[in-house]
Amino acid sequence: MSSLTLRPCGDFRTSYKQDNTIFETKTIRRLAIIAILVLCTAPAFVDGYVLTLCIQIAYLGIAAMGLNILVGYTGQISLGHGAFFGFGAFASAWLNTSFQIPVFLSIPLAGFLTMAVGMMFGLPAARIKGLYLAIATLASQFIIEDFFARADWFSGGSYGAAAEPLTMFGVVFDTDQSFYYVALFALVTMFIWACNLLRSRDGRAFVAIRDHYLSAEIMGIKLNKYRLLSFGISSFYAGIGGALYAPYLGYVSAGGFTIFLSIQFLAMIIIGGLGSVKGTLMGVIFMVFLPEVLESAVSVLKDTDWGNVPMVIDGLAYIKEMAIGLVIIGFLIFEPQGLAHRWAQIKNYWKFYPFSY
């Protein structure tokens, strides 16, 4: 009902095609396209550090989108997403250095390889749910981490692996400015892919399994197959995200792909909104920019009379970490349904202003 009343005046739909678009209205679609075009011009007037953050948003965002397909849309849970992200990173470097596969090919290949690994770990996971599944996927996190540490041929062991920069059409994407476009392209492609998946057959099947798996089965959806597939697709996304990370940094080491990263991915999608594509992006942007914003916020303390003592200056890093925790807790208490839900409520408010509904 709300989607009907929220449609602007005069927006009449005369075909099913018009009723089946990714964006709710033409205006929103135009705004999205304009936003992407504006983002394309960003390297010209934004400094390198912000570009780094944007690239970070892109590769983390792709991986988080995968986790949201698994957790938000299929209702399964995974605590091993960080490890799959790392597997993608190592796989793209490994495919490139061991088999001389060009980087632009090794990125999708690494995605599919991660998908295969994810489905292998998802095989038992397709049969269990809830907390039990959380523990099972926790095992996959540690198994893969251990694999990184031991498999020298794959990950370079404790030395890590070097990754070549991405080269395409004779252009080397080894600067922030140039890789930014690769990251933006990948992000947009993968998000459109997710949108289309979710409005076609298999995406609906995922949500059906989440909402009522018994009746989903009666409707002809094979539960194990789709739970496994969801695991695979989520690992695929994690793999692609990781595979972008490797050629960007030029070096991959196992240290970064711990359970902490997995929890961070979960935090992103919970803050952004489970079961929402735009929420995923919002959550990732929030989680990437929050430390930066708080960094500058707590550094203000240094200039005050109270804060200009060695104890506070030395403790700024900790104050920042605590503030991040505080903001996240605050979010979960006041907006448990995520940023996407808050966004919808803000839109509602303005649509109906000055009435409450």
């Binding site: 095609k17 009723d19 289309n196 998946l197 609906r204 949500v207 909402d211 089965e217 959806i221």
Partner: protein, 264 residues
């Protein structure tokens, strides 16, 4: 009307020591409305669950359109043309009504996780739109066009029941299993639902197997009625025959034993 679409042979089902069904056999004729009645705990829903594949019977055979489906998974039975609704609502609460019904088309859609996302390049879009048209036919038939964009979880009870029926109909079933389609409805909604059941039976040529407690509705719209009591089949026959049967009166309809004795 003579050919049978569903044949249940000697089906028994036990949960530990509880015998939910013992040696139940019956046949459902093609194109008929077949009702299963009986007191609470008689095994009606267990019977339906055996047919739809939720439970595996301990012994006996279930034959659907000439195929033995006893060991078939529930999702494969949808492909064969069997739809069902649930006693307690089982809609996908966060999906819109339209998407709920589109899930019913699942086994008729061909695109998968690789071709679906290539929406414009593959034929996914074309397929979606074609099936949308079919879904709209069902929506029109059940008169739920005003709520097609609503989130299913926000609807009233009567409408949810109707959406569930729509979802089962979208499967293009030959046989539809309805578990108490009129439970908890007011008179007006019951009348509507009875009309829909009759219409889908006659217009769409769907055979109906229905569990229902409202005797008035059951006797009015069924071609055949089966009575279950403590997992056993008491009688199966025309509504009038069943109504007149003294065992049924005692087990279910609630007439004192003395009255029966007096009458006989």
């Amino acid at each position: 009307m003579t050919e049978s679409i569903l044949k249940i042979e000697q089906v028994s089902l036990a949960f530990g020591g509880v015998k939910a069904l013992s040696d139940v056999s019956f046949e459902v004729k093609k194109g008929s409305v077949f009702s299963i009645i009986g007191p609470n705990g008689a095994g009606k829903t267990s019977m339906l669950n055996c047919i739809s594949g939720r439970y595996q019977p301990n012994s006996g055979k279930i034959n659907f359109q000439g195929n033995d489906i006893t060991d078939l998974a529930p999702n494969d039975r949808a492909d064969l043309g069997m739809g069902r609704t649930f006693q307690n609502l089982a809609l996908f609460g966060h999906l819109s009504v339209l998407d709920n019904i589109m899930v019913g088309r699942h086994h008729l859609l061909k695109n998968n996780w690789l071709t679906g996302p290539l929406y414009w390049a593959s034929n996914a879009q074309k397929e979606e739109l074609e099936h949308r048209r079919k879904v709209e036919e069902v929506i029109d038939f059940l008169e739920i066009s005003h709520i097609r964009k609503s989130v299913a979880g926000t609807l009233s009870y009567g409408l949810r029941k109707r959406v569930e029926l729509a979802r089962a109909m979208a499967l293009n079933p030959k046989l539809i299993l309805l578990d108490e389609p009129m439970a908890g409805m007011n008179l007006e909604e019951k009348e509507d639902m009875a009309r829909y059941v009759l219409d889908l039976n006659e217009e769409f040529d769907i055979t109906v197997v229905m569990i229902e407690h409202d005797m008035g509705v059951v006797m009015d719209i069924s071609h055949e009625v089966m009575v279950l009591d403590f997992g056993k089949k008491l009688i199966c026959g025309l509504p009038d025959q069943v109504m007149a049967d003294p065992h049924v009166k005692r087990a279910y309809l609630g007439i004192e034993d003395e009255e029966i004795q007096e009458a006989s």
